[in-house]
Symmetry: D2
Subunit: 391 residues, 4 copies
């Protein structure tokens, strides 16, 4: 009774898009108001202010009307000028990819890279900034999702702050699932989105901006205006009495409010504990089956996604396809340099439930066993359960 590609899956355990919380799905179905209806304008301001409690940016977060790649491209275009020197910290595919957007401004790019199964060492950043005191912007991808690794953003942020450069952080797939925010990261531009750990569909970006970053963008003559790529256009758009640069995505805003309310009602601490426990159980299960985490050191591994190194000789795409066909469980591939070399199990928002990690271990291990690999699924599941039981 295999699941056909056209059959809906049973369980989506990807690194995003993830399924939305039921309350978010219902939020999306709320009546669509005119964007200038005062009731909607009040909603928009309320959502932004509530987000501010979680993002902890110096100013009320800006919503951009597209998923976070928009915000990353917009941040690069807005905050990086031709005279800037950008230190790009590269521990994975997404960080590397940011270089393309950063370079468009004509800025000089200085790269500090580590292998994609490691993370950036703060001491290296310290050294790099000493070597290049002219660095004006530092960019970091907090959770480089294609590797499932977490960089020490707070430590790096403190170093960047001392140096005085603008710190641009991509926290898209960690925010809302672990303790990270603009304040603790010392981030000047903190890019994230509701479509990962907040449990919304993809369609919006959230950008936390410091006063320093607003000033830098305003001083940048090349910063987009009258453009989908403009952050500046949206500076005051969250205020109920100010116009929108263009029509915001009303339904997605309604969904986002439901997500934020869900987060606040559950409480950050419990949300984060739920993500961490799920990832822990998943890693325990994976290792107990004799499989390797992608992260060279388990301490690098993200609480929001577990990347599993693909055993030699296994066709990763065929493996994932088989997991779906056999059990209806959907997992994520790697991207770019990690494509074909790892499989990712997401623990984000509604899927960050320890029992889902057990299910993922069973489905992934079961498929590898069916591929003829000497994988002890029973041991994997038992280890995952033991991890949950250990609390």
């Amino acid at each position: 009774m295999p699941y056909a590609p056209s059959d809906p899956p049973v369980l989506t355990l990807t690194t995003g898009p993830v399924d939305a919380y039921p309350a978010v799905l219902r939020g999306l179905a709320a009546p669509v108001l005119y964007d200038y209806d005062p009731a909607f304008q009040a909603t928009y301001e309320r959502v932004c202010r509530k987000l501010g409690e979680i993002v902890k940016s110096e100013t009320v977060p800006v919503l951009l009307q597209g998923e976070p790649v928009l915000a990353l491209e917009a941040a690069a275009a807005s905050a990086i000028g031709a005279k800037d020197v950008v230190l790009n910290l590269v521990a994975g595919v997404y960080a590397k990819g940011f270089e393309g957007w950063a370079a468009r401004s004509g800025a000089e790019i200085v790269e500090l890279a580590v292998p994609y199964d490691e993370v950036i060492d703060p001491a290296m950043v310290e050294a790099a900034l000493k070597a290049r005191p002219d660095v004006t912007v530092v960019a970091l991808c907090h959770h480089d999702t294609p590797s499932g690794t977490i960089n020490p953003v707070a430590e790096i942020g403190a170093i960047v702050a001392r140096h005085g450069a603008l710190f641009l952080v991509d926290a898209v797939s960690s925010f809302g699932g672990m303790p990270v925010d603009a304040a603790s990261a010392h981030a000047d531009i903190f890019v994230t989105g509701p479509n990962k750990c907040l449990g919304c569909p993809p369609a919006l970006s959230i950008v936390g901006v410091s006063a320093k970053a607003w000033a830098k963008m305003k001083a940048n003559p090349a910063a987009p205006r009258d453009s989908i790529l403009s952050i500046l256009d949206w500076e005051d758009a969250w205020r109920a009495d100010r116009p929108f640069p263009f029509t915001p995505s009303v339904a997605e805003i309604n969904g986002l409010e439901a997500a934020v309310d869900h987060f606040l009602a559950e409480g950050a601490e419990r949300v984060f504990a739920r993500h961490a426990a799920t990832a822990r159980a998943c890693r325990a299960g994976i290792r107990a089956m004799g499989l390797e985490l992608w992260a060279k050191d388990e301490r690098f591994a993200s609480p929001t996604a577990t990347a599993v190194r693909t055993p030699d000789g296994v066709d990763e795409a065929a493996l994932r396809a088989a997991v779906r066909a056999r059990y209806g469980v959907v997992l994520s591939s790697g991207r770019g340099a990690t494509l074909g070399r790892l499989t990712r199990i997401g623990h984000m928002g509604p899927t960050a439930q320890p029992i889902h990690a057990v299910t993922a271990v069973a489905a992934f291990g079961g498929t590898l066993a069916a591929f003829g690999r000497p994988v002890d699924v029973g041991a994997g599941v038992a280890a995952a359960l033991a991890s949950i039981d250990a609390g």
Copy 2:
């Protein structure tokens, strides 16, 4: 018992965002699949193909992941190069606004403008192209929403086609509510969106592209790539076996499928008749109350929105606020040059029902009467009803 600004309105009769069809709201609430789940990839292709039946573009329409201002900016950036000469046909605020995006390329802009209560005469286009045989791109806003007027796109399109220029049409707020499509408009780039007459929330653009337009964009070295502004990135993304340049807005795609299915089930002819009958009833009611349409000639008036000239001495913003406060009915203001000079009553998608025009006439007329204007609301409603009865 006035409606407070924070109270939800009873009836949103704006020119967009409009409320969505109930089936679309439910579509938005469907489970969010992983974008690379084969079931979602099949959905995406299916939606694009069905849209192709309505858009009638030479190639399968492209979806951009933002409301249509994104598509207009992207079209200008992609299709207009530094060496182009653009004839911009300006009969309203939106057409005029396109100039800013068109000019970014460095192209020369030739403007052909008429007062904003008139429409472009095809003969003027013919003459303009004779005067400037070097024109390579012609841009037209079919329904310049801030004026509620409809330009003769098919006639103009035929002239442009004979001339050989690329024809770029903004049909955002007419498409889906009246007989207009890429084929009949001879459009090379046909920009529209689901958030007006198709009855979806704002968040996506639909772009119908001709083979000639694909070639021109590919030949343009400045055409955006690896960017939210890229159309080229999405050329084949509708195919189930091709990657997306970035994560599409899954929930909005689900909503869009519901909208397209709704349109196809009701049938284009009936959908268009419904819009036309609503606008006709609205205009009849407005005139019977002694009020003036904004359109200089009623034949210019759109079947998807009725713009009513603001009587001298009336504060248009206060008028609309009072319509909402008294009756819970939300109408649209003008924009830019028409702001404060007219009020717009939308007839789009779910609100394109003749009885809503009656309600709008009553609410609008009733408020003007309360403002001390000599408006005969009873005559207005009677005329609107008579228009419906006349079929």
Copy 3:
């Protein structure tokens, strides 16, 4: 462009089922929990307790798992025994219909009836109880919906209370739309439902029960137990730690919670004012068109439904069908003795908005005019608007 019977209507202005509030529709779509899941048990208790704030019954209201005809049949079967003498106050079709259920017990039925366009005079009740001091149960239909008339329940209740009989009140279509509750009505069994003015779909009953009524039901050997008709089975079922007699309608309970929250958030006073203003505007419009209310005295007319006497020679069914076909507006017929003699326009829950009364007047009047009746629709609409403006 007439609406076919199979086309969805534009506006349902009936006396129930009415369309549900958008928040209720979304509530219905919440995940369906196991009824013995502690999270659902907590929801059930919470909903019943919140309802208690509105119903104001001596004990926490009981939910029966069927629309209110179930509760009426159950109340008769549970509270009326063979030795009872029931004074049935009949001012309409529904009150008359209750006799059938009451008589099944073998009790003697004493009827006090008035023409169906009048209401019960408390003095008549006083006299009837003097004449028959052996009356043990008095039954009243507060809002006899097929007539659209409201009986003076509080005054009658006070008389019944002094007499000492059990007072059984059907407040199905008035509760939630005007100030009526078990306490002010002196009701021992107060039957209502969420499917009228609370804006839910039909599927549940709400029963407020006094201590005296519980005692009487328990003392009745014929009171149903282990039956869908049992009220006794549900006495403590609202408590989270008690079992349900059978599976409650989980989704409807979820929808009901949304409705109760909506009511409490808007506030009873404002909800009632909204219903009253809508009915007032409707009556003003109807009379200004030269039509007659069904209620002999306008003071009898309900704030939740307006019954309009069918002009001589008009086929009422054809009239309503034409209102729907021409405008997409759905109205209610009479029932039983009032069938064919009146048309009802509902003002319940989400439709209790004054502007909907204006629309109803226009659609109803417009159709009568098209039927050749000398109806001045303009005057009707103007009068309805004037009523709204008068506050």
Copy 4:
């Protein structure tokens, strides 16, 4: 990170209510139409006719407006008269419970009972009918859910048919999940509901009625009429041009249509295969952990629920509570005579997915292990996966 009772569960794997299919939840949120709106009347008829394709009753199935206990009580009250002799086949709690309703009519009840972990042997029915040729009604519970066992309904039905008695079948929790219908069961009254394997919330009953059963009910002077307990009142109510006896549960009907469409689109064969595969995997896992099925013979075990015998010394309620607290997984207890002696894992509708059986095995086994029982969870999961792989 245990789940509190008030936390929503992660996965509801009960024997009903089960969570609804996503499409059903969205169906519930459709606009609520007036029950006499022709569009709703058409929907009602369409739903009943489509159900007829699955129920395969002689006449179009009747919908009763309450969950199936209503239909069982109504069937007993309608079809069983004082002169009937009822052979009640008792293999479980629900069959035994039917006796109470059957006896109310005054009929003589002849019981044929087996232990609750066994099923009725057709030969015993044959013998019983020979012993009592005056039996006029035979009642069977196909899937006695509190035992998770399936009685051989087709064989028994053939015997009853030859005998000439009326055959009353409760197929509430098997219908839609395995091959059973009124025709193959030779059932005269086939009671089921949408709230189990069709994946709807509880609120409706479906009753398939033969011509013989209609005749018997009509001939029964005690058959309820003008009552929630009446089946006769609803005989023609499915026809779009006939009145409803009282207001049907509009939203639930909308949800039911989505469920029926889902069933028909997936196809009965595949739906049944999915249920069977899930139960098979579950049983394999349970046994591999050294646990016992409740069913004495695995061939008795239902494809829609797996009942697991509670190991000696284990507090079953505490066990289930711990499964929920540890993993967020909700299971069902026994009922009545089986309460405390078994735990049930449901495989119904949306939860009939083999991977959910794996998850259930892990959660159930993991909890037993934590209770100090020598349970090999790994072996259980491996066996469940192997069962799936074996197809």
